[in-house]
């Protein structure tokens, strides 16, 4: 019974990973990936690994989404200038 919380966290991670792969638009995928990062952090907490949970939070909640979104912005901006001046 005390494993229930682990099961919940595991299932959330599995579902979220599926969703992250299924989102084909990178900006939307970045949103799902940031939620996946949160779920992973919770999973690490219930697996009694707070150190890893902290680093996952630090990386997954702001850093990785920021990197991906900046890349998306750069590639989209490129597409826009190719079509012509705004």
């Amino acid at each position: 019974m005390s494993d229930a919380v682990i099961v919940v966290a595991l299932l959330l991670v599995a579902a979220c990973a599926t969703a992250a792969v299924a989102q084909r638009d990178p900006a939307r995928q970045a949103l799902v990936l940031s939620v996946l990062g949160l779920f992973l952090a919770v999973l690490f907490t219930v697996l009694q690994a707070p150190d890893v949970g902290l680093s996952q939070l630090a990386v997954g909640s702001a850093l990785t989404p920021l990197l991906i979104m900046l890349s998306v912005r750069r590639t989209r901006r490129r597409g826009r200038t190719k079509e012509g001046p705004e």
Binding site: V5, V8, R28, A62
Partner: protein, 150 residues
């Protein structure tokens, strides 16, 4: 298995599933709101887990999430500003409900711990969580305008 962990499990299952559903469906604006609410759902769950495991040091996780979660949402609000400007998503009822949930959990955990430095930390977490979420919602419904070059 104690009450704290049970509460955390329920919150994790409910909040997590709702956030996951919200973030994978619908227009972009709604997805960002769901991402924001994931923070407000999971941060109290982390506090409950810390209490349930009897490990005050786990509060650091909630602290970090309360700090960085809204920052992450601001990233999306900033870099998706053009799309959000069109949609102007807002879900104030949900935001305040989540804020209320956070307040209740913080109050409950505070009541269960002896007053001292731990209480101050919990209150800081609560303030950051609620403040951050409200501001992030504000930012989504038109916090950034005219963001082109910057």
């Amino acid at each position: 298995m104690n009450g704290w962990i049970l509460a955390a499990t329920v919150e994790l299952a409910g909040g997590g599933a709702a956030a996951l559903w919200g973030v994978t469906t619908g227009p972009t604006g709604r997805r960002v709101i769901a991402q924001n609410l994931a923070t407000s759902a999971l941060c109290p769950a982390l506090l409950l887990l810390s209490q349930g495991y009897g490990r005050p040091s786990y509060v650091d996780l909630a602290l970090l999430l309360a700090l960085l979660g809204p920052v992450g949402t601001l990233v999306f609000a900033r870099l998706l500003a053009a799309e959000l400007e069109r949609e102007r998503p807002s879900a104030w009822a949900l935001t305040w409900a989540a804020a209320g949930l956070g307040a209740v959990v913080v109050a409950a955990v505070c009541a269960a711990t002896a007053p001292g430095r731990a209480t101050v930390k919990l209150l800081v977490v609560g303030a950051l969580l609620i403040g951050g979420n409200v501001i992030a919602s504000r930012a989504l419904s038109g916090g950034f305008q005219g963001v082109r070059g910057g």
